[in-house]
Symmetry: C2
Subunit: 218 residues, 2 copies
């Protein structure tokens, strides 16, 4: 449609405004919780007006829902799923990610917890709209993890007897559980202890002996 | 001291008042979060005055700290630790507890989450006094779990190669992770999937083959 190419379509500006507002809201909500952040807090962190925000998000809940659908979901895919593509053995990739992305985090970062886990704990019991979206985000993570577990099984890395659906749930649970425990315990020796046991589990479901060749990089 | 036995010692009344206030506050905080409950909410659920409450708990934080030290810690011991004494094989006891106490919970109960996990997620990042007490409660759970793992190792149920400290952390993490995931996901097939994988982990650290003889009781 050549006639519209001469001017930047307004939809692009709107999309950028929307993305900027979400990018400003995300760290605030991560730190203070959804209920601990006001629309004014978010507006103060952007170059946009309150009117622009309300144009995008008529209510604070709309902003919260968009954080799940448009920030958390892509984060799950970019941070935890897409990198697995580059591993011939996805099990090795999963261990490596946990070691670097959680084990390698600073205590300050760990103290903030996992964005998804935080919202689940805070908002799932309080609001059905949040609950539906958070469930969908968890389902996405479990489902995409299972795809890589199936690949690992087809390639012979994962034991044929393992139920990939059950294993995918457990692996996602462990991510949320690690974040939850480390948020409460601080760093100390907790990550190393948790990770050693997580490797035992991976060893149990893996055809490879001995323990998968993952180096401590953090 | 016969002279004081004729009258009920005031300390006993104070202790009962304190216990009643904590018992009233606990379910409110479990449902609404610590920040979502006011002193007035708590007073309204007891037969005591606000003055009696402030006599026991000069600030709301004091009440919150007492919930951790005097309600959550005993709950951990009564619910998760003491029952293990009756199992010759503590690993079997741990699986059985998870199956009955988490797997057997109603969706309404699961929606509330775990009292300890909820407070860790909500208050550990916000208040150092909470954090210290919550850490101590987690440490208690990990430490007591490790004692039973050592017993399992001495009796030959747990593989000699397993680091009991790491395994204890992981088992407590899984409890918190299960509660966290089920809070977000509702019941559906999530517990069965998580539990199947948890059993795989237990199988991996156990000397017993095949899978431990735990029946679905829920």
């Amino acid at each position: 449609m050549p006639s519209t190419q001469k001017r930047r379509p307004p939809t692009r500006d709107l999309a950028r405004t929307r993305a900027e507002i979400l990018a400003a809201a995300f760290p605030l909500v991560l730190k203070h919780g959804f209920q601990g952040v006001s629309i004014d807090d978010v507006v103060a962190r952007t170059r946009h007006t309150k009117g622009a925000l309300f144009h995008q998000f008529p209510t604070k809940l709309d902003l919260g829902y968009a954080l799940v659908d448009e920030v958390v979901r892509p984060l799950i895919k970019e941070r935890w799923i897409a990198p697995l593509e580059s591993y011939d053995n996805p099990l090795e990739g999963m261990l490596h990610q946990m070691e670097t992305l959680i084990g390698g985090s600073t205590p300050e970062t760990l103290k903030l917890g996992c964005p998804l886990n935080n919202l689940v704990q805070e908002m799932a019991p309080l609001d059905a709209g949040f609950r539906t979206r958070l469930q969908a985000a968890l389902d996405l993570w479990v489902g995409e993890t299972e795809k890589h577990l199936k690949r690992a099984q087809e390639k012979g890395y994962l034991k044929a007897s393992i139920d990939t659906h059950a294993a995918a749930y457990f692996i996602v649970m462990a991510h949320e559980g690690f974040y939850g425990m480390l948020k409460g315990l601080g760093k100390r020796d907790a990550f190393a202890a948790l990770f050693a046991s997580f490797k035992s589990y991976f060893q149990a479901i893996s055809n490879q002996e001995p323990v998968l060749p993952v180096e401590m990089t953090a």
